[in-house]
């Protein structure tokens, strides 16, 4: 009897010490888990590509669930339609809130953009937290790419919303002080500048759909022009890009319809007729081709500016809507071509378009160069500025020599060169004329603009989730 007790207790003891922790919790071999995924450089590269996928957003007409992130595909609502360049065709739905300056904090498109870009920031931080698995050289390149994307996202958000939460690492659900505390704009800009400087050091100019050195330099120049405190450095950055191999396309049409042209510095890539990688904003800008009846339609004011100052860019910027001749559409990103303008269709299905979205192009850099030399003043006649300005105008067929450039001339030239490319709203704010120009535009069209409309409302969903930590922008 006693012997069996000894044997039994010995066996029991043996069993107790033989099971290690891992024995009961093996790492799954047939399924991927987030915590253990990034273990090779190839896997880290998928995370890098994932960042650009986040910026690309989802085609709402292919993947129709409304909770998906549409990212840059809905950016035009928040920028062009809030400026005096475009509006909805028939004042429909939530989109009409943007043109009439009656945006509510419950606006779904504002919420979409906010969560899309914080998701992009999360994807960038994922890359940054797993750099250890890459070799030293590749780690430096990936770090530069991730910091460019993170800075790009924060830059868009801070310009639209004002003070925003600053996310420099992967945030856990419990860290409500990072998620819901709005950090001052100045601190955000310092963070953006430091990320872009790392990006410039680590990138080269080998890619257009991924971050490049010139893209980081151009973005940093734009940041300096926005904060207004380092015009000389902005000028140096522009001159550095100007010394490279980018050049203006001779034909304005080629900028948008020739995918490998030498003018584009950074664009978001799309693939035509593809469920996962196409875009639908091109279709939304047409008459009832997308889900809306037509958005991003050209305002009378924008048409007048283009007619007066556009040169040969005008027919390639807007056209009359063939189905509704009193309305005017954007020409720059047509998915189904235009025979009279000799533009081919870019995809078989216009709702699944492949037109890449241009974020930064060389003409913008030349005009930023002029802006940097102007340095917040009223006029300039420095020959370097006249040279850059003239290059853009010459391409547009406006070859008469300019002897001095005023702030208004530069603003107008930016409007007609970069029309409908999501720059107008930011240009008005940067030049300090947003309130004047937009209140005049608003009273002429019966909208209700007030000074607080220059910032978007923080999405109500975020405010609700924050349990009182997030405060709303004034006026909402």
């Amino acid at each position: 009897m006693k012997k069996i007790n000894y044997i039994a207790s010995f066996c029991l003891l043996f069993l107790l010490v033989s099971c290690s922790d891992d024995f009961l919790e093996p790492v799954p071999t047939s399924a991927i888990s987030g915590a253990s995924f990034f273990s090779t450089e190839a896997q880290l590269e998928t995370a890098v590509v994932n960042m650009y996928d986040g910026i690309q957003g989802v085609n709402a007409l292919e993947l129709t669930s409304s909770n998906l992130n549409h990212a840059v595909q809905v950016e035009f609502y928040l920028t062009e339609m809030r400026s005096d360049n475009t509006r909805t065709k028939s004042s429909e739905g939530e989109a009409a809130q943007f043109e009439s300056y009656t945006i509510e904090s419950t606006n779904g498109i504002v919420d979409d953009y906010y969560r899309s870009f914080y998701n992009v920031i999360f994807r960038a931080n994922t890359v940054l937290e797993n750099l250890g698995v890459a070799s030293e050289e590749t780690a430096m390149a990936f770090e530069a790419e991730a910091k460019f994307v993170r800075a790009y996202a924060h830059f868009n958000l801070v310009r639209l919303f004002g003070d925003i939460p600053m996310v420099d690492k992967i945030v856990r659900v419990s860290e409500s002080d990072v998620q819901y505390v709005r950090v001052a704009k100045e601190t955000i800009y310092d963070f953006i500048i430091s990320d872009l400087q790392t990006a410039i050091d680590g990138l080269d100019n080998s890619s257009v759909n991924r971050a490049s050195k010139a893209a980081a330099q151009a973005l940093l120049a734009k940041v300096y022009l926005t904060t207004g405190d380092n015009y000389t450095e902005a000028q140096v950055l522009c001159e550095s890009i100007m010394g490279g191999s980018y050049a203006l396309e001779t034909d304005f049409k080629d900028v948008f319809y020739n995918e490998s042209n030498s003018e584009v510095i950074f664009s978001v890539g799309y693939a035509p007729d593809n469920v996962n990688d196409s875009q639908n904003f091109s279709a939304e800008w047409l008459n009832a081709v997308g889900r809306t009846a037509g958005v991003n339609y050209v305002t009378t004011e924008a048409r007048m500016a283009l007619d007066e100052m556009g040169g040969n860019r005008t027919p390639l910027s807007y056209r009359q809507d063939a189905l509704q001749p009193t309305q005017y559409q954007v020409v720059k990103y047509l998915p189904n071509g235009d025979e009279s303008l000799d533009i081919d269709a870019t995809s078989n299905d216009p709702t699944s378009a492949g037109n890449d979205w241009i974020v930064i192009r060389y003409a913008d850099v030349l005009l930023m160069h002029v802006e940097a030399i102007l340095a917040g003043g009223q006029t300039t006649s420095v020959s370097a500025a006249l040279n850059s300005f003239q290059q853009v105008r010459n391409r547009a067929g406006l070859t008469d020599a300019v002897s001095s450039i005023t702030k208004q001339m530069l603003l107008d030239e930016r409007r007609v060169e970069l029309a409908f490319e999501n720059h107008r709203f930011y240009d008005l704010v940067r030049f300090g004329v947003a309130q004047d120009v937009l209140s005049e535009f608003s009273s002429a069209n019966g909208y209700s603009f007030s000074g607080t409309d220059l910032l978007l409302p923080i999405p109500q969903r975020e405010i609700n989730l924050s349990n009182g930590l997030l405060n709303q922008n004034p006026g909402y």
């Binding site: 015009y231 000389t232 000028q235 140096v236 001159e239 940097a372 030399i373 340095a375 003043g377 009223q378 300039t380 420095v382 020959s383 370097a384 500025a385 702030k407 300090g432 309130q435 004047d436 209140s439 007030s450 000074g451 607080t452 220059l454 709303q472 004034p474 006026g475």
Partner: protein, 293 residues
Amino acid sequence: MKNSIYNIKVLACLFVFGLLTYSCSDFEKFELPESGSIEDATPPSANFSFTQGELDAFLTYSFSNESASATMFAWTFSDGGSSTETDPKYTFPSVGTYTVSLTATDALGAESTYSEDIDVVEPEEPEAIVPVILESSFEDNALPDGTGDGRDSWRISGRTIFGITSGGSNFHTGNQGAKFEVAPEDRLGYQEVAITPNTDYKLIGYYKFKSSPDGGMITLGIVGGSHSDPDDAEAAIFASVQGGDLSSGDETNGYHKLELAFNSGANDIVGIWIDSNDMTEVRVDDISIELVE
């Protein structure tokens, strides 16, 4: 027996009754609050920002109302003006300091006031900087603190400073000039000055060669940006002019004048570079940078 059972029943009823009464005692939470009994958690808070008009409209300020939780606004300006618009534009009578006050009221009558002083000045085009060149004439004791041998501001670590020439007609003005001898001497003069970007300037200097040997050349250059290494500085020269006339010049004491027009470009700081090709001894004097109108 019946009595005790009855007593127990009564006690039980009383007990249950007491329990029920006790548990239902807080009926207050089902009462509706009276009007005005709960404080407004978001009283109005007034705030505004402003931008000055441009060019001739510099007396007109546009105000942007940033108040929260308010429905009516009353603006008062210290020169007597007032407005009830949300985002008014106001023209001040003249330059000076004014106080602008915004009172924001909500529908309950709660008020909040915010004031700010505005200093209305006519914006001036900032004057371009005329660079200050120390020891421009290479004289002794010419530094602001009264010291200096005429060359101290022109030194750069890594290269030998030029010599000093004096006496007779060796200088252009003053008592001394800079002297650059022939090889194996290899002298350099370098000084950095603050400058306004994107402005047209003219660098002026005077030189005189000794009569022999032949082949001498003096270079005056402008270096972009600030550099501590002379090789980096030399690589960053973006404008330069050379003088090689060994004959007697038209200026005082037979000197020649050298001029170099340049645009400062994207630089807040430029360096003045004076170098000889070390083939003929040359004197240099009176370096200056002027604005080109």
